[in-house]
Assembly symmetry: C2
Amino acid sequence: MGCVSQPTSPAAGTRTRLSPDQRRTQLLDLGVSLLATRSLDEMTIDLLAEEARISRGLLYHYFGNKHAFREAVVRRAVDDLVAQTAPPPGGDPLDRLLASVTAYVDYVVDNYEGYASIVKAAQGGNEALRRLYDEARTALTDRIFTEDAQGEIFEDTPGARLMVRGWAALSEELVLAWAADPTGVTRDELLGAVAGSLPGLVELVH
Amino acid sequence: MGCVSQPTSPAAGTRTRLSPDQRRTQLLDLGVSLLATRSLDEMTIDLLAEEARISRGLLYHYFGNKHAFREAVVRRAVDDLVAQTAPPPGGDPLDRLLASVTAYVDYVVDNYEGYASIVKAAQGGNEALRRLYDEARTALTDRIFTEDAQGEIFEDTPGARLMVRGWAALSEELVLAWAADPTGVTRDELLGAVAGSLPGLVELVH
């Protein structure tokens, strides 16, 4: 979230030089940074208006209504997650997986409140958020097969797809549980468990 | 669910011989059996009244209100799940784990609609259902340590507890995904993957 430029003190002069698209992007950045330490329910138009020091009316102008605003923030947050966890371009497949997993763990730890509440809202039947969450989950898991097109880690079979899906659920549970209470488990142990579990899991269906 | 005695045609004479507790139990059995092929939202007082051929008023008498009714049915369903997946009393620890997992897979396949909707409602922030779901999840995972008190499968450490928790999320995802679409993965492969994954996962944190 390092891309928010002094969100709490935008000089009026700076603000007027931004295009509507730039301004909307800046507001989304601010929304995502607020979401890091707040649940989705706490992430209201009122809060953003106060933090951005603009009127609620202007926010409605940019986002339409509170649901559209919340969805736009979540879309931006999951896009950030997918981008930040992209594996490095070259190297050993397993090393690249570990780098990606490390970025995922760091993302969840840094954005715990918002991430946990997005997962909860998506699983609980908010259809718009569920779609966004499923898209992100699919992007994160499909990437394992597209990044590994030569099948260096494992073949692309229905069984492997199922296990990668299960591994994503395992990883999410491990990281959320560890971020909430890391007692007795080091960060390296967690990273080793998340990244190290995938090959063994996929082998079980071969 | 084999304990429902002809729920759709209770003769009036039979019904009056039951005590209120027995009658309540019979109604819960019927509720749980209806839940097997329906979501929690479809599982209404109206439906149960129709299926049990009694008045809605009598159902309110037994259960208080529709939330209490739904909770009572879910409590009964998760108690059934925990009971039906109890490992056999003796034998090799891994064989007992496989027996327990097999019962879990069968339970989810036989009760797919209701089980999937309970998971969704619990994850989505219905606090009463979440508590019941967490209790069941805890009963299912703690059992692994109490059943394995001699540490034959693995030691009881924070890392092992965390991995068992992750394994429960993995197992739930695998079984629900497979029950919804089993293409390309046999039941034996699924069972092998769910039961076979636990020891390897726990080893990763040692």
